[in-house]
């Protein structure tokens, strides 16, 4: 009788342990499903026709997914109308937050306002909108200060004299003017540095090549080209190679894109300003997650410092960031 009772107790213990085991497994599964059920995050990027923005978009998407969200990238193709359509679809699609790289500092305000009115928080990345009332926060490259530093290095490499060409980015983008004004705040103090031409190539590599080719017809004797981004720097360098002037004319870019980092390493491009697209994209995704979890007190604008990358310090850097951060 006692033996039967003991077997009965052991059986109960085994069944109890099995039941707890199953419960724990169910809870773990529920936890996993819960993380996948956190909601959807939209990543709206100004253009995917530039590798720098592809890195920005992909990093934001990956980080959002790591945090348990379903994330989708929307390409605005540098068109505010397309961007507006994306916002309409995002609002209708029940997204929880938007990680947003705007197309136009003024033109994109209305889209962010639309999202705000639909109670969807927007986290701007890299590019700014000219409002501090509609986005939840804006994580921005400190382009002006980065170009002040680049301008100082430009003056040093040019020994304070010579002729140069400036290639501007998209004229409606604040980054274009922040970079240009930062650069000129230094360079214009040197009267022997003459800017012979200032034209837009819209941040585009092919356009930059075409613009510089025609500029070289009018001004064959230039000493340097300052480009508002790295894609244009690569286009400018191609034009100089085609004209047989690549060894004589110094090219300066801005971004920290892979081909320019490689070119600085190879001595083809002189310097660039390293922005940190991966860092900014991760910050935006993490802040969206914090917002969804309840945090509401975000600084409206967060400048992220740009660092000067030259042939002297290239060892510290890799494409889109610092070696130590990869």
């Amino acid at each position: 009788m006692a033996r039967k009772f003991l077997l009965f107790i052991i059986l109960i213990l085994i069944l109890t342990l099995l039941a707890f085991g199953c419960k724990q497994k169910r809870q773990e599964q529920a936890g996993d499903e819960g993380s996948k059920d956190k909601g959807k995050i939209a990543v709206v990027i100004s253009t995917l026709n530039n590798p720098w923005f592809v890195v920005l978009g992909n990093t934001a998407k990956e980080r959002a997914e790591q945090l348990g969200y379903e994330a989708t990238i929307f390409d605005s193709q540098n068109d505010t109308a397309k961007e507006s359509d994306h916002f309409d679809n995002i609002i209708a699609g029940g997204y929880t937050a938007i990680l947003f790289n705007p197309t136009d500092a003024d033109g994109s305000i209305a889209n962010v306002r639309k999202a705000k009115e639909a109670d969807i928080p927007t986290f701007c990345i890299d590019r700014e909108i000219n409002s501090n009332e509609v986005a939840t926060t804006q994580i921005l490259s400190d382009n002006y200060t980065g170009c002040v530093e680049l301008g100082q290095y430009f003056v040093k490499r040019m020994n304070g004299k010579g002729k140069y060409v400036e290639l501007l980015g998209i004229l409606g983008d604040n980054n274009t003017w922040n970079r240009s004004k930062g650069f000129h705040s230094v360079v214009d103090n040197y009267p022997e540095l003459k800017m012979v031409s200032q034209q837009t190539a819209e941040f585009d590599r092919t356009k930059a090549m075409e613009v510089l080719e025609s500029t070289l017809q009018a001004y064959p004797e230039i000493d340097a080209v300052f480009c508002g981004n790295d894609a244009m720097a690569m286009g400018a360098y191609q034009a100089l190679v085609a004209a047989g002037k690549a060894d004589k004319v110094m090219v300066f870019g801005f971004d920290g894109a892979k081909d320019v980092i490689d070119s600085i390493h190879d001595g083809k491009i002189v310097a660039t300003g390293m922005q940190f697209p991966k860092k900014m994209a991760r910050m935006a995704a993490e802040q969206a997650d914090e917002y969804i979890k309840g945090r509401k007190d975000f600084p409206q604008k967060v400048p992220v410092a740009v660092e000067l990358v030259t042939q002297e310090n290239i060892a510290k850097y890799t494409a889109y960031g610092r070696q130590s951060e990869q």
């Binding site: 500092a105 003024d106 305000i109 209305a110 306002r113 700014e128 000219n130 409002s131 501090n132 009332e133 994580i139 921005l140 400190d142 002006y144 200060t145 002040v148 301008g151 100082q152 604040n174 003017w177 922040n178 004004k181 930062g182 705040s185 230094v186 103090n189 860092k279 910050m283 600084p299 409206q300 604008k301 967060v302 400048p303 992220v304 410092a305 660092e307």
Partner: protein
């Protein structure tokens, strides 16, 4: 039937004209543009300089103490005194001190602040223009989030730097400072987090091409007086 066609055509024309003669714009966007249009960076900088900056100068750290801290514990220096408007590896510091002029160059003064005052420790800007955001950021008084676009925030720095040249550097140079004289100063400085990784401040730079080249702490003056 003809009548219907006429009315339809007339309605289409009227609709076309009305659509193209009325343009709707968001009132908030218009207000925002007006606010931006009225911003004057020079006036903002003037008010900052006259009414705000001098109230925080009593918080300026002694430059000798700060340099010692940079050379021994950069992270502690950043924690105690560093300011940055966002995410950065470069921090701005509000400083004060006195020292002996060792060199007067075209756009800087080399000054020794540590005994026996034979080697330079700091380089005070004294040129015709000042780049950067040292004064704006070291003051900690101007918040980038106040501005609808960051260009305004940057323009303020440019205007502050113009005041420094016009109202600090030029009057000081008019007093004809000489090597060996002692100066008293308040100033601002921007220092990268890794500035002392290879060479400490006030020490000879290893492998420098020019003889006796020191790693110097660069200062934008806010007040500069001969003692």
């Amino acid at each position: 039937m003809k009548k219907v066609c006429k009315y339809a055509a007339a309605a289409a024309i009227i609709a076309f004209l009305v659509y193209h003669s009325i343009y709707f714009e968001n009132l908030e966007d218009i207000k925002e543009q007006r606010r931006r249009g009225t911003f004057n960076a020079a006036e903002y900088a003037r008010d900052f300089w006259d009414n705000q900056l001098f109230s925080v100068l009593d918080k300026a750290v002694n430059v000798k103490e700060l340099i010692e801290l940079f050379n021994t514990n950069m992270n502690e220096a950043i924690r105690r005194y560093g300011k940055a408007p966002g995410v950065s590896r470069t921090y701005a510091y509000l400083i004060q001190g006195n020292g002996k002029i060792l060199t007067i160059a075209e756009d800087f003064l080399e000054v020794s602040i540590r005994e026996p005052q034979t080697n330079p420790d700091i380089k005070i800007s004294s040129g015709f223009y000042i780049p950067g955001n040292a004064v704006r950021d070291a003051s900690g008084l101007i918040d980038v989030s106040e501005f609808s676009d960051t260009m305004k925030f940057n323009e303020i720095s440019g205007e502050i730097n113009k005041i420094v040249v016009k109202e600090v550097i030029r009057p000081f140079l008019e007093k004809k400072p000489k090597v060996g004289k002692t100066i008293r100063f308040f100033g601002a400085s921007q220092v990268a987090q890794d500035a002392t990784e290879e060479n400490l401040f006030g020490q000879l730079i290893s492998g420098a091409t020019e003889a006796k080249e020191f790693q110097l702490f660069r200062v934008v003056p806010i007040r500069l007086e001969l003692e």
